[in-house]
Subunit: 285 residues, 2 copies
């Protein structure tokens, strides 16, 4: 087997997006795919050894495509998480000054998040399909008076000058990415576990009982979310993240208890709690 | 005050969509708006007496724009709910036979939900911004060999023939709409109440405690959902629907208890539990 091939890590493209930035902390041997399912499929088919997908954003909420695919379509383990601050930057070709820029290109969400900055500088917003596409477009315009809102990675890829950093309004905009693999991880002593489950029908106190299992064992929950199970209104899959590794004795007991109290349960993975990007780099390199 | 004006009911347009169908059970005096916030604003500004917006779909999940707007942007009461089965129909100009139809227009979600039907009949999918726009487009083509996937309402509006009914794959596809008003409702004895709340920080057992208040009082929860509070990852607004009316003595006690256990709580409304469309028609007409 070609070791170069199996060391590849897939991410949701195009290059120069926040997904690319997150993936670049995991590996230098990256390959981009056009959809979240294609990233997951690349790991299932052994084309890549790991895949990185966004799972939630602090403003927009869960990435439904990722949650649904992890439950319904793919059996992969979450082996890591990376949290990236979503900072937007004004990029332009070298030689262009900030006061020359009248038209700014970017993805609609990025433009919306930098609205005050654009108004203050009398810049007109123009839509592109991604922040990376905006950077590409502006880089091809030569020394035109166009700017792009994009990542530092996009500036690097498309040879653009970073005119201004962190131009967005909200400072608490973060995206959480997960690293997916066919393998599983060993305990590090500072892990979290992600599970998904559904309740028995006609069991309105079911969620209360499940949360009680954690509360009685003093296990902290870092996330509780719901998605429709696709079986009709009022039927949910709950996603819960909690402290501990599935190989810890105390967690094994909890997971066994949950199995008897749920109609469906899937352990999505145990992995080190995100601490810093440096930590992620150490873990995966 | 012009009574014609205050009796108007707003919905999310365009005409001929499922939102239009839901709204038509409430009133004949309808006015369509282009966005969920505009529908809500029309009620706040007294332009309309009620507004109807989608709040969740059994396959796609919550309508985030509706949940976020009810929490952050508007103070309106939910005074009713309507659940509509999402059935797709093949529409074409009168005189066109099913075997003549080679190209079919519709919204991407509708086309996706009818994929097997289209494949079986060798029909090519073509995208439009809404199912209603597809019907409009096909109606203007005269006796061309185009079909549209749309509602029975759209067939009626655009004078199209219903070639085939219920052509979608999944049978459990339903959308729940809520009726919004500045007024509130009286108890009917068969009501539900919708609330939203956030937990105190550093209180991981908080949700368990809240659900316990309902469990101990034997109150059935029909919905538990979470949305990011927009204050950073791990901070949520929970949406809970439960049986009972906020004016019932037993529910008053529960709501008072919840106030002391939450950092934020908003009662979104008490309203009759959806039973049938006929019931809704009786309630609102």
């Amino acid at each position: 087997m070609n070791s170069d091939k199996i060391d590849k890590v897939s991410f949701l493209g195009p290059k120069g997006t926040f997904s690319h930035e997150a993936a670049s902390y995991i590996s230098d041997n990256l390959i981009s795919y056009c959809s979240i399912s294609e990233v997951m499929q690349s790991v299932v088919s052994n084309e890549c050894i790991k895949g990185i997908v966004p799972i939630e954003n602090s403003i927009e909420g869960p990435v439904n495509l990722t949650l649904d695919a992890l439950i319904h379509d793919f059996d992969l383990n979450i082996v890591g998480e990376i949290i990236i601050p979503i900072n937007h930057n004004l990029l332009a070709p070298y030689g262009v000054n900030i006061e020359d820029i009248k038209e700014v290109y970017s993805h609609s969400q990025a433009l919306a998040q930098c609205r005050y900055y654009l108004e203050k500088h009398n810049m007109n917003p123009n839509y592109t399909v991604s922040t990376a596409e905006a950077a590409r477009k502006v880089s091809e315009g030569g020394k035109s008076y166009y700017g792009a809102i994009g990542t530092l990675k996009a500036a690097e890829i498309y040879g653009l000058n970073v005119i201004d950093k962190n131009i967005q309004e909200k400072s608490n905009n973060q995206t959480r990415f997960v690293v997916l693999s066919k393998e599983s991880t060993l305990t590090t002593g500072h892990d979290k576990t992600s599970i998904a489950f559904s309740l028995f029908e006609d069991c309105p106190g079911g969620l209360y009982e499940i949360l009680g299992v954690f509360a009685k064992n003093n296990i902290n929950l870092s996330k509780v979310e719901s998605r429709p199970s696709k079986e009709g209104l009022g039927h949910y899959v709950f996603f819960v993240d909690f402290e501990g590794h599935q190989s810890d004795d105390s967690i094994k007991v909890i997971l066994d208890t949950l199995k008897s109290k749920t109609s469906f349960i899937k352990i999505l993975g145990s992995y080190p709690i995100f601490n810093s990007v440096d930590n992620v780099i150490d873990n995966f390199n």
